[in-house]
């Protein structure tokens, strides 16, 4: 009801920007991001804490933005999928964050709806532990449901990002003799992620 919609004024840190917004007091961080700030990369799959699609990083930790009131995000650093590449560039990187690039090269982005949250969970894991094993990867991603991939190409993507950061050769998938993830967008061998 209109009466419920008494707005409150908030000041937040989103993707390293200081943002001021005025939203109804009962709005979640997810609603604020999507419907007030237009940061629609954060997805809503259930709005009740079951699916993980709304995962964002709060002070570096993966959190469900549908379970957090917008007001409770004040004073914390919120990072969404939109902030991943810019943060990587700011830190002197080129192209995409290696997690995003690996997800794309491994085919993990089928419908993509779960993947903003998934990639942020993977990013948080690698920040904490740069060389997790497969069980640790599966554990870290177990709060993010994916209905398309069977998780295989997601796990491969995280392992590819790890292998490339340590200079190791990634394990070949069952359907390929070698490393199939070298070929990218360009048939002449350029890396589409840097385009």
């Amino acid at each position: 009801m209109l009466a419920m919609s008494t707005p409150i004024s908030l000041e937040l840190s989103i993707n390293d920007d200081r943002v001021r917004a005025s939203v109804p007091a009962h709005w979640t961080l997810l609603e604020l991001l999507r419907y007030e700030l237009g940061l629609t990369g954060t997805k809503q799959g259930c709005d009740k804490g079951d699916c993980g699609a709304c995962t964002v990083l709060i002070d570096g930790k993966p959190q469900l933005s549908c379970l957090i009131l917008a007001a409770n995000a004040e004073g914390k650093k919120v990072q969404t999928i939109e902030g991943l590449q810019p943060a990587h560039r700011k830190a002197g990187g080129v192209g995409l964050d290696p997690v995003q690039d690996a997800f794309d090269r491994c085919g993990a982005l089928q419908c993509g709806f779960c993947q903003s949250g998934m990639m942020l969970s993977a990013r948080a894991l690698l920040n904490e532990n740069p060389t997790p094993d497969r069980t640790e990867i599966r554990q870290a991603l177990s709060g993010n449901l994916c209905r398309c991939t069977g998780y295989t190409q997601i796990v491969q993507a995280v392992e590819l990002a790890i292998a490339e950061s340590t200079g190791a050769e990634p394990e070949s998938p069952s359907w390929s003799d070698g490393n199939p993830w070298k070929s990218t967008t360009s048939l002449s061998g350029k890396n589409g992620g840097d385009a």
């Binding site: 079951d50 794309d104 419908c111 993509g112 991939t149 069977g150 998938p173 359907w175 390929s176 048939l187």
Partner: protein, 783 residues
């Protein structure tokens, strides 16, 4: 099949493929990686209203009256509509239009749509929904399909000729009596398949805008733009040309977004009434009510086998619980019998399938439409028959392999067939010969096989127009844009189109754009269902490319004053094959062609050949090509707790030719996952009042990364004579064997046969106890 539909299976312009067979990135992958991709609920229009639905609290009731006056009086409410505003029935199948966008006269399940409110925001719309007053007269409800088989008063659909029977199909091929008489072993058993749902992570959402000149634009999370355009325009009384339907980026579908849904009609109507854009986003709970998932089936199978492993005949009696509406149910009923007739050759077959209405959320097509349930039953029975004749279950499947270039017992044409190689692959990769039957108690291996369609020649509504159409635009910039009605639902259909354009025209992937699933811009395509996209859209794309290439080559040849045969185009450069130093870039060739022909473009199309058996329904399930799959599943069963731990699935799939192996593997893994976890974790059901037992992703649990087994995709290529470069489907076939292979693995692990889904710990323990009691009895008897 017209000549235009056959394009050969090899590399088109040289010895080797350039783009086909490469694991290129997906065309839209990076936009998904960065959060840039726009899904339906990401669309925000100026002045947009939000709509919400009032849903029925009763499973079966007559609507006596609806009073919306209090709701309308609420500040911020702009319009309210009920069934009286949208009285025309719709339904995806032309002969069974039994749905209304909002209930007219009666409701048929808890969650059926009754009224819709458009308001300034979601909170106001929800508050208004609560103020709508409806008086119902409650009717007898049907929750048991066996009751619907015999009781028809009150009828769930009073106009239906056969009471509560939605569809019955009885077909017989050969002579069952002598089939069973000639068998060495005949088994007859009952199997139960529970219901399961798609649970795409994106909930359904639609946005509509009506412009002042009467044009309506509808953005919807649909996987079949064309059928939505047909049905919504019909119900709204708009010419199809005035309704533009656009599918934004789609967050998963699996068949669950193939019907036209209430929300699409409602937002379009409300936009027309209010003159403002209207959005409706369903909650997760509402998605569970809208359902259209896998039909529960009760199946009795009787199969005969000879000692040498040859099957003599199969007989099936199936009761299908359709829920409250027809949806695709006519096709489901046929598919439940028609699609079992491969990969095994059996000379005699009868099936009798009956779909009934019940007062539950309507069932429809879910990945592997109509054929996953019969496959579950049959492949378990086949395992039991193998044991009875003392033959390895993989060997029995080999013995009965139908082979290539043949016909099934029900008259379906089979061309390419890589089933034998699928069996070889899973046998090798799982180390079947050294491990099966020899693993410690609690660990087991099981096998199953299957066959599935690559599209069907039955186009839902009969017509002579192409099933797939595509248009190409090319100009001096060097860019080629393809306009396709094909729906990319995450499976990669637009990426397939791009790969083909690169192959045929020698383009770099970054010089190709694909505009898809927008009815104003794209030629008609029948959408993403029945695993038709790669095969049909792929062939249409090749057709369009060859026509365009001809124009370009002709123009260059004229410019160089040589015979067109000497002009090579296909590797990023264009040259004279007899004078290699005469060469230009593809972009320069486009310039020459644009000057020569004027503005450039081409169209392409695909239609199926005439297929199918010569009997009523013989074309349902007739496909231009069939895919084949074999699985071996490895499982651990905890005999103390009854818990099932899924360890490995080896999935070998014959996809004809893998146009992009990485995307094929992704479909195989996604399918294998979806099949095996629905056996263990999922159960879509209602309680004794007809209330959904748990419409959330917590109560209807989906497997996490920890629950999902290691999936090993093994691609088998049989090179289909009619597929694009020999390709067939990969999106649905690889699901089928997962469930029976799991049941067979559980038998290998702990000696129990589970014929009823889902495989809960309780069911496992009950079966273990029964087995222990039986073992004791037989032991006691032998003492």
């Amino acid at each position: 099949m017209g000549a235009r539909d056959q394009h050969g299976t090899g590399a088109p312009w040289g010895d080797e493929f350039r783009a086909v067979g490469k694991s290129l990135r997906k065309i839209e992958g990076l936009s998904k990686a960065t959060g840039e991709a726009v899904y339906a609920d990401d669309i925000m229009l100026p002045g947009m209203l939000h709509a919400k639905l009032l849903r029925s609290p009763h499973a079966h009731a007559r609507i006596v009256s609806i009073d919306t006056s209090k709701a309308l009086a609420l500040e911020g409410v702009h319009a309210i509509i009920t069934g009286a505003d949208l009285p025309i029935c719709y339904g995806v199948i032309p002969w069974t239009k039994d749905e209304n966008a909002l209930a007219v006269d009666k409701v048929r399940f808890i969650g059926d749509e009754v009224a819709a409110v458009a308001a300034i925001d979601e909170d106001t719309a929800n508050a208004a929904v609560r103020l709508i007053e409806v008086e119902y007269e409650v009717l007898h409800s049907y929750f048991d399909p066996n009751e619907s088989l015999v009781r028809h008063e009150p009828a769930i659909h009073p106009g239906n000729k056969h009471g509560n029977i939605s569809k019955r199909v009885e077909l017989e091929f050969g002579d069952l009596e002598s089939a069973f008489a000639s068998a060495d072993v005949v088994m007859e058993e009952d199997f139960v398949f529970h219901g399961s749902t798609h649970a795409a992570i994106e909930p359904h959402c639609a946005v509509a805008r009506a412009s002042a000149d009467g044009l309506v634009t509808l953005w919807s999370s649909t996987q079949i733009t064309h059928y939505v355009q047909r049905e919504v325009s019909r119900v709204l009384g708009l010419p199809q040309s005035r309704l533009r339907v656009i599918q934004p980026t789609l967050g998963g579908a699996f068949g669950g977004k193939s019907d036209p849904f209430s929300l699409e009609f409602v937002v379009a109507k409300l936009a027309l009434i209010t003159g403002r854009p209207v959005k409706m986003l369903w909650t997760r709970e509402e998605v569970f009510y809208a359902h259209r998932g896998r039909h529960p089936m009760q199946m009795r199978y009787k199969t005969g086998i000879k000692k040498d492993g040859h099957l003599t005949g199969v007989e099936a009696t199936i009761t299908i619980d359709g829920g409250s509406y027809s949806s695709f149910g006519l096709v489901t009923t046929y598919y439940s019998g028609q699609l079992l007739t491969g990969p095994y050759d059996f000379p005699n077959y009868r099936f009798d399938s009956t779909r009934v209405f019940t007062n539950k959320p309507p069932c429809g097509p879910k990945r592997g439409h109509g054929s996953v349930q019969p496959r579950f039953a049959f492949e378990i029975q086949l395992d039991e028959l193998s044991e009875a004749i003392g033959m390895d279950p993989i060997e029995v499947r080999r013995v009965n392999d139908i082979g290539e270039n043949t016909k099934t017992v029900n008259g379906q044409r089979v061309t390419s067939n890589g089933f034998g190689r699928c069996l070889d692959e899973v046998e090798r990769a799982s180390e079947w010969k050294t491990r099966r039957g020899k693993l410690p108690l609690g660990t087991g291996l099981g096998v199953a096989g299957s066959m599935y369609i690559s599209g069907t020649n039955y186009p839902i509504y009969p017509n002579d127009m192409p099933q797939a159409g595509i248009q190409l635009k090319v100009d001096r910039s060097g860019l080629v844009t393809a306009f396709t009605g094909g729906n990319d639902i995450g499976q990669g259909s637009s990426s397939v189109v791009r790969t083909i354009l690169c192959e045929e025209l020698g383009l770099d992937p970054l010089d190709v754009r694909v505009v898809a699933a927008d009815t104003d811009l794209c030629p008609v395509d029948l959408g993403a269902y029945s695993s038709r996209v790669t095969f049909m859209v792929g062939n249409a794309t090749i057709d369009a490319c060859r026509k365009l290439r001809k124009q370009i080559v002709e123009a260059v040849a004229a410019k160089w004053e040589v015979d067109a045969k000497r002009v090579y185009l296909g590797s990023g450069e264009v040259f004279d094959t007899e004078q290699r130093e005469t060469k230009i870039t593809t972009r320069e060739a486009f310039e020459i062609a644009e000057a020569f022909h004027d503005t450039l473009g081409s169209t392409g199309a695909y239609n199926t050949p005439t297929l199918g058996g010569d009997y009523r329904g013989g074309s349902i399930g007739a496909s231009p090509a069939y895919s084949f799959t074999a699985h071996v599943v490895e499982v651990d069963v905890d005999v103390e707790t009854g818990m099932i731990d899924l360890k490995n699935v080896w999935v070998a799939h014959d996809c004809g030719r893998a146009l992009n192996p990485m995307l094929v593997a992704g479909q195989m893994e996604g399918s294998a996952y979806m099949g095996i976890v629905e056996a263990v974790f999922e159960d879509h059901k209602v309680n004794r009042f007809g209330l959904h037992s748990g419409p959330s992703l917590l109560d209807y649990p989906l497997a996490t990364a920890l629950d999902t087994p290691e999936l090993h995709a093994l691609i088998v290529e049989s090179i289909d004579p009619e597929g694009p470069y020999g390709a067939k489907e990969a999106g649905e076939g690889p699901l089928h064997p997962a469930l029976p292979a799991l049941s067979n693995a559980i038998y290998d692990a702990v000696g129990i046969r589970l014929r009823e889904l889902p495989f809960t710990p309780g069911r496992v323990l009950t079966a273990l106890r029964a087995k222990a009691a039986l073992d004791k009895e037989t032991k006691g008897a032998s003492c």
